[in-house]
Amino acid sequence: MLRILHDTKYDFIKYWKAAAFGTIAFIALGMAILGVHAMRHTSALNYSVEFTGGTVVQLTFTQPPGADAVRSGVDAAGFAGAEVAQFGDPLNYMIKLRASEGVAAAANADSLGANLAHLIEQRLGGTNKVTVGQAASVSASVGSELKGKAITAVLISFVVTLIYLAIRFEWRFGVAATIATMHDIATTMAFLAMMRLEISLTVVAAILTVIGYSLNDTIIIFDRVRENLRKQRKESLRDVLNRSINETLPRSVLTHATVLAATLALLVFAGEVIRPFSWIMAFGVFTGTFSSIYVAGAILLWIEHKWPRTAESENKGTARALAEGRRRERPTPAATR
């Protein structure tokens, strides 16, 4: 039997201060970079055209044209403010025009793409064939509406998971898991800022998947905690937590390995369109693992410290509720003290 990390007794919780410092430093660094972006660009986050409104055209060349040639072609077409970036390999270029850069109507993506392709092809001498891979135009109103929807989606997923965990576990667990989830969003945002990844709808989907995945991981550990508490040992929550993390360690390593393998396959082989998604997922595996132990676990301990379960409430409420895995009356701080 091949075993890794079997029957370990690491004191994970001991390092919570270092962990907290590390993650706060990471988030702060990300926010600082966001601030720099906000000063250098129009907005702190690099939103895709789906959110800002505007036009994006992807051109495919038969020979590598060089970024300067593409840019001068775009300038000549009258879009001096456009963003020109290589897209994956040197044969593909992405040209992005924000709504503010003279793209009045949303309707002109195709004709704009065709014009650009034609113009650049002419300037390159005609031997380098240019085709429009994709073109999209979004009006600014649609974009801002979408932004609202994305934020609503994240908030609703918070509420839903909070309620579910409160029902299945206990309010302490729900709060701890939700705070861990918020932490994951913060670190993912910091990661986004550091990588200057474009926030598209697919990226929002990736962030929500990271939330789901991290929550999944937290629940696996909390499930162990719930079970170990049920055994009614004379153990502090800190020890129970440590033991639960150690007991679930082999599972964590295995599952993270398989998910990471799938994510890396996406990152390397699935192409440029899906790359931002893959990056976030890859990062999510790490932040999800981290937050399950050091955010969800630590917060759970802190709540326990603030509003400790008394023997009475434990007998009447928690223990039974935990044993049955059902909802119980939320103990008021006064009653539990």
Binding site: L201, A205, T258, A265
Partner: protein, 569 residues
Amino acid sequence: MPLKYRVLTIVALCLLSIWALFPRNITTREIGSDRLMHDVTVRHIPLRQGLDLKGGTYLALEVDDSKQAVPADKKADAIERALKSVRTRIEGFGVSESVVQKQGNDRIVVQIPGIQDPQRARKLVEEQAFLEFKIADKTQALERALPRIDQVIKQRGLTPAGDTSTKTAATATKGLQGLLNTDTTKKSDSTKKGAAGAKKDSATAKKDSAAAADSLKLQPGGAFSSLLEQGGMAGEFYVDQTKIPTLERYLADSAVRAAMPPGKDFLAGSDSASLQGKWYRTYYVVDSKSISTGEHLTDARPNQNTLDGTVVEFSMDNIGGRRFRSETGKHIGDYMAIILDNRVMGRPPVIQGAIGTRGQITMGGRSLADAQDLALVLRAGALPVPLRVAEVHSIGPSLGQDSIDKGLRAAIISVALVVVIMLVYYRFSGLLAVGGLVMYMLYTLAALAGFDAVLTLPGIAGFVLSIGMAVDANVLIFERIREELARGKTVRTSIDEGFRHAMPAIVDSNVSTILTAAVLYQYGTGPVKGFAVTLIAGIAASLVTSIFVVRTFYLLWLNRSRGAQTLSI
């Protein structure tokens, strides 16, 4: 459940999945190269591909508020009716597997897969066939606004500096300046005549015209006014064909639009005229408020008559006819512009008397075929509201194929990696999990086909990712079995206990993921919705395979090797 039924259930599920995924004939109606309809039968796996994989055009249409043709409370109803017209039109033009649906309360989404010419597709739905009847302006509103507009254009620096077109514009200006001057004098004359008792008024009017003349002198023939020549009737202008792009560029500027006379529209006509060897396009100034719209149109037929050439005759229902009669009754002697999609059709006729339910659109010198097309579009869907394109995505077919290839490659590699990890770590049990993984993929794809879900690129990514996540339940169970074995329990008991103890964690973690995916499905659009569907189908399939299928595999193995003392895990 007895073992026999477990195996039967799995076999049935597999057969059902294979049936759901079996390639079948799909017949669609398409327009061939000869522009005739053909039934095309293709044999393929019944998994619908999204536009980002298949290539095609996606359009989101919304009500054009700038025209204020519909009060806000009637918008939802109008969109509902516009939906029917757009659908009829898309279907009528014979694009296979197209989708036309309402999104939210105020948007129509059109998806046309595999179309080679996205511009044609857009024209198809953009052709609103929005019919309006407006009164041509006779107050010389535009003439009065011209100095202001010229000023604005100069300030905004819109005049193309130093290129040849300015020179020609400058030479063409001279004749026009005279025309404008006569206009202003004419105006002050009429003010004099009209305002007998109000000398002050006429004085200011004079001053105004003098000021206008001054500004004209300062900037001989402003950029805008130099483009226009007075037409044959009030509110009609001719514009040199070659200058139209310049004019349209001015009109696109927001400051210029703001300087245009309020309550009036400046619209291009459908007619061109040849004067002294030059081609001119007609433009009209009309009241912004329409006296009637095509909302009440009941029929439209092409016709030809000697007087007007090609025409489309239309009739309206009683409500529309009554309104039309009373409105035209108020405007006897005025010119009525018939406007189709912001273009004045033919020359506005004089309203001789109140018009009822019948009328005609003059098509100028165009062919009967054009009239037939117009009549079809009007009949099939004179849109009750003007629509504008809010969003358009077009994906080339090669890009879509590229995405499929890459996605498939990533999926195969991800499966290979997961299989290796499971086999190396769990040996025989890992093999069972891999068997479960194969079933998992089969069930997931079958579920997608069964629910007629659309496979998008993010959907493929979600599927690849779910392969990595699907073994999580297996891992949880296997680790539990290991723990039970370590406590010295028998193989059979360990397996039972392992499954039982892993259950709450599996259920809780998967339900929370399903909840997140459901939120995504509710609030996502297009590709993201595809991602959410794949995720949900994946989780459901993973629960079935890890809890039920792999368990059955174990039971089968236990049956075959009765009294096995060791388990390779």
